[in-house]
């Protein structure tokens, strides 16, 4: 969630209030801005959900407070002067980044706080809407340092050009540098260039902005030093480039509202797209910033049903104005509706329901009285969940301690430490109905095992694991129980542990490509544990669930030869039972014999 640093004095000044810090923090909390602490400069660190991006600056937060205090009401739209400047977008602009927008700001008074706030707003917009500058990047320039080329149409206007340039095709002095560099050099040598190089890595030509004097900005990476904004700047040129016109236009609207709040005048800019532009506005002219107000139509009935209270139309209109919206009452054949006007900085309003949320917040959600809905339904658990519970109760009755292990594991724990080879997946073929194991690897790769051996399956594998411990979904549960035993060798024996949990294997016949099932596993670790103990528990379990058990001898590398058997339930192989091989015990630092069993939960149905 975004965090902004806000100077409380600046906030008081822009809001026009003399409340103390604690009162301010209470009011901010009511807006959903949580106090996280203070910066070294004693500013508030405020955290909030990433919907109200207009609150990424002190100006925007002050605006919200003014609505909350009733000092402002309804929709406000800054005045927009006619354009003098044009951004000409020529045909060579990289196709991946075809869009640009801009505004001229005049008469801005940027003191230290103002400049800091503007820089913070720019950074936070980059991080949120701009998706790390990939989707939208902001460049703010000192207008007086720009020399516009004269427009050819005799209107007296000036122009700058958004164009594409070869990575080594031109030079400029970027911010925080003292020598001319090519865009390529910026990407390779400049610390900022380095940071954003990945965005333009696949571009054939680099995005570039020119005035008559030459290259002055290399979006989305860095501006030129020539047009750097300082506290002395009074006139600004704001440009934004990106992969989506709507996104950069709305980032621009938020910046224009913030500067307007500092008393600046906003002047429109013409964006003139070449016919060959890759974007959706090729061959057209746009006038920006777009500060147009959108309208959402909300029915009175929906407001009442959603908030669960009866409201007068006047009340609705009042709530809208307190939320910084305007609601106009319209009587239609379908009943009373409101045309609600939404200012351009409200990028979070997509649907009429977002307006209702605003009305609810203005009303005060905590003013509402909870009520239990008068809706009758029948509750029930699904069958697997009931079966799982019944099996767990039975196991616990036999003295098993129920455990809860992670479904994620790694290949060492699941295979190698159990003396199993690691299966290497073959071609993943949807038409083939078997899971193909192409090869074996790992310490036991030379061991030939049947693909029917319990635990042997191609494990569903995680692409970018955080830790070597968790790289796959486990294919069987007994390794998890042995790990719990391994962790607890200093605890009192006997340790009879059980788990009913998820195991999985790659299976092309499944829609997801993964077969998932619940497995019932139990181990008995005690100084005199023998195969019979495991067989006995298993017998009692199967008897309790009324299924037939047979245990024909089998070979399984995790168990001692001659002390392992398939668990055959009603004629179908459903698992394995046996005494663990000493090599497996030693691998897990165990000094007592361990026997165990594992079977599919569904076999007990």
């Amino acid at each position: 969630m975004p965090v902004v640093d806000i100077d409380p004095d600046e906030l008081r000044r822009l809001t026009g209030t003399d409340k103390d810090d604690d009162e301010l923090l209470d009011d901010l909390f009511a807006l959903g801005l949580e106090f996280e602490g203070r910066t070294d400069d004693d500013a508030f660190e405020l955290e909030f959900a990433p919907d109200r991006l207009d609150r990424l600056s002190v100006e925007g937060i002050a605006r919200s407070l003014r609505y909350q205090y009733g000092q402002d009401r309804g929709v406000y739209v800054p005045n927009l002067n006619d354009p003098e400047w044009t951004i000409e977008v020529d045909a060579t602009v990289p196709d991946e980044r075809p869009y640009v927008t801009g505004a001229v700001i005049r008469g801005v008074n940027l003191d230290e706080e103002g400049l800091e706030s503007l820089i913070q707003l720019q950074e936070k917009l980059h991080a949120t809407m701009g998706r790390g500058r990939a989707k939208g990047a902001i460049g703010i320039h000192d207008l007086t340092m720009l020399k516009g080329e004269r427009l050819t149409d005799d209107s007296g206007g000036s122009r700058i050009r958004y164009t594409g340039v070869d990575p080594d095709g031109d030079t400029f002095v970027p911010l925080d540098a003292d020598a001319e560099m090519t865009p390529q050099q910026v990407l390779e040598e400049h610390p900022i260039g380095d940071k954003y190089a990945s965005i333009v890595a696949e571009y054939d030509v680099m995005p570039a902005i020119y005035d008559e004097l030459g290259l002055f900005s290399f979006p989305p990476v860095i501006n030129g030093a020539r047009t750097e904004v300082t506290t002395n700047s009074r006139e600004l040129f704001v440009e934004m480039t990106g992969t989506d016109q709507w996104t950069i236009d709305h980032m621009l609207a938020i910046v224009c509202y913030a500067l307007d709040a500092r008393g600046a005048t906003v002047e429109a800019v013409t964006v003139d797209y070449d016919d060959a532009n890759a974007g959706e506005y090729a061959g057209t002219q746009l006038e920006r910033p777009d500060l147009s107000v959108r309208t959402k139509t909300v029915t009175h009935d929906r407001i009442e049903t959603m908030l669960g209270v009866d409201l007068d139309p006047e009340e609705v209109i009042d709530l809208a104005e307190r939320a910084g919206l305007d609601a106009e009452r319209v009587d239609t054949d379908d009943g009373l509706v409101y045309d609600v006007r939404v200012p351009p900085y409200r990028v979070d309003v997509l649907h009429p329901v977002d307006v209702i949320d605003d009305l609810g917040r203005a009303f005060g959600f905590n003013e509402l009285t909870p009520r239990y809905p008068d809706v009758s339904t029948v509750g029930k658990r699904h069958e697997r969940s009931r079966l799982e519970e019944a099996v767990r109760t039975t196991l616990v009755g036999m003295g098993f301690e129920d455990t809860l292990n992670f479904h994620m594991s790694n290949e060492a724990n699941t295979f190698e430490r159990m003396r199993l080879p690691i299966p290497v997946p073959g071609e993943f073929d949807r038409t083939d109905n078997t899971v193909e194991i192409a090869d074996w690897r790992g310490a036991h790769a030379e061991r030939s095992v049947s693909e029917d051996v319990v635990g042997v399956a191609v494990p569903p594998t995680i692409k970018e694991p955080y830790s070597e411990e968790y790289t796959i979904l486990r294919t069987w549960a007994l390794p998890s129980l042995l790990m719990v035993l391994e962790r607890n060798t200093h605890r009192t024996y006997p340790q009879d542990l059980a788990e009913i949990g998820l195991v999985a294997g790659v299976d092309p016949t499944e829609n997801t490509g993964v077969a998932e099932w619940r497995s019932v596993a139990g181990v008995l670790a005690r100084h005199d544990a023998s195969y019979e103990d495991a067989r006995g528990r298993l017998q009692a379990l199967t008897q309790a669930f009324g299924v037939d058990l047979a245990t024909p001898a089998t070979e399984h590398p995790s168990f001692i030869d001659g002390r392992a058997a398939d668990v055959v339930i009603d004629g179908t192989v459903a698992g394995v039972v046996g005494e663990f091989h000493p090599a497996v015990l030693v691998e897990h630092d165990l000094e007592v014999p361990v026997v165990g069993f594992e079977l599919e939960l569904s076999a007990l149905r």
Binding site: D51, S198, A201, D244, T247, R294, T305, L307, G308, V309, L350, H351, P352, V353, D357, G360, R361, F365, N366, L368, P370, R371, Y372, P373, T377, H382, S385, L395, G399, F400, E401, D402, T403, L404, N405, H407, M408, P425, F428, I462, K463, E464, P465, Y466, S467, E468, L473, S480, V484, R487, R491, Q495, D496, A504, V506, N511, T512, G513, V514, E516
Partner: protein
Amino acid sequence: MELPETQLAVLEAASATEARTIDRLAADTGYEPEAVTGAAFGLEEAGLLDIEADTEIELVVSDEGDRYRHEGLPEVRLYQAATAAEADPVPISEAIGAAGLDGPEVDIALANFARKGYGEIDEGAITVEPDADPAADPEAAALDAIATGDATPAEEVRNRLVERGLVERIEHTRRRVQVTDEGVTALMSGIEAESAVGQVTPELLTSSEWQDAEFAEYNVEAAADQTPPGRVHVLRAIAERVKEVLVGMGFQEMQGPHVDADFWINDCLFMPQDHPARTHWDRFAMSVPTAIDSLPEDLLKRVERAHREGVGEDGDGYHSPWDEDFARALALRGHTTSLSTRYLSGEAIGEIDPPARFFSVEKAYRNDTLDATHLLEFFQIEGWVMAEDLSVRDLMGTFEEFYAQFGIHDIEFKPHYNPYTEPSFELFGEHPETGEMIEIGNSGIFREEMLQPLGVDADVMAWGLALERLAMLLTGADDIRDLHGTLADIDFLRTAEVTY
């Protein structure tokens, strides 16, 4: 004085001048260590013996950790290889080759490289951060310190190493016993093995000897040896309790795949594809297998349209990219809301008519740091109510009722933002013991942009919270890792208070 045979043997083998271990006494007396421990407790009860027990925690470098000590941490090796390389950025494959990384080490190197800020990885290339100083990597230094036993590194680094599996924590309990002054006196005045009847035997019963027998008096107040109890895992017990409450409130249980398409996990939830939570750092994307076979084509189109154009006459969509391949890509579900989307769409059990209530208490997965309050996999309680007209007041009433079952009252509803609900509320409740207000869930009314493509023509309100959070609240546990996973301490589970 008379004592049972084992006790007498132990007392005689023990020393008054030096504390001896149970193992030593077991060797000296020929009894099992368990029997010696039992006898020692009996003697302690009688005041003849002192027992001291201490628990030592030993940090041991794991095989993996040991390997890294000699070869260097994978991310450090990656950094060195990338720094030494000519190109900048360096293609990943080249840096990996030069660093000699192989198998899982590659992913470990990449994940930790980024975490430690050694540079950036993007589009298959590595850019090193020139200011980073892997030569002074604190994790590497701590690993050495633990291996050589030279120093104890800071707890944070220690924990990190444990999380990474490079260091293991091993706990030992050692008991030592020593004869008390009273014991010495008793020994000097002579002790005999008991002649009175201890164990009642079949012979004793079938003969009539029992009629004349004198039964040895036992110390009935002394604590007895405890058989480890068979019991349900504490977290399972709480999950059961939650299920019971929800079934009682008319909720029906859902189930579904843990590995699922991002379509069901996120797209159907109206989460834009470029939402930060959908980036690779938070998500457990799958490399085997990679994509779902089929998705309902009509639904796919409707969801795409909602993302692009919004829903309703004056609705707006997201101005975000849409890629069908991303919708089909498989991941371990980041929340169990994927079950809700499968049920609401009719995919799971066919069309559901209002009114309906559904829930699940199932696992979700987050690619996040493992610490005292965060697990990579956790249980999520998920519930929703579908009815013709639902208001915010109905939502509040439902959740007040649910939490009241667990002794949590005076719920506060803090307006919040979720991409898939509006209005949305974070739920805060008073901790039953500390009285502090803590976050206990997230809730809201599903947006039209989510419901309309799913074909739902009614209101749906939903909420979710981590079961572990509720469990910590109810049990007072302060480290989630004690509760869940193979790091579990059996003793904690054996002694945890029963929840009902």
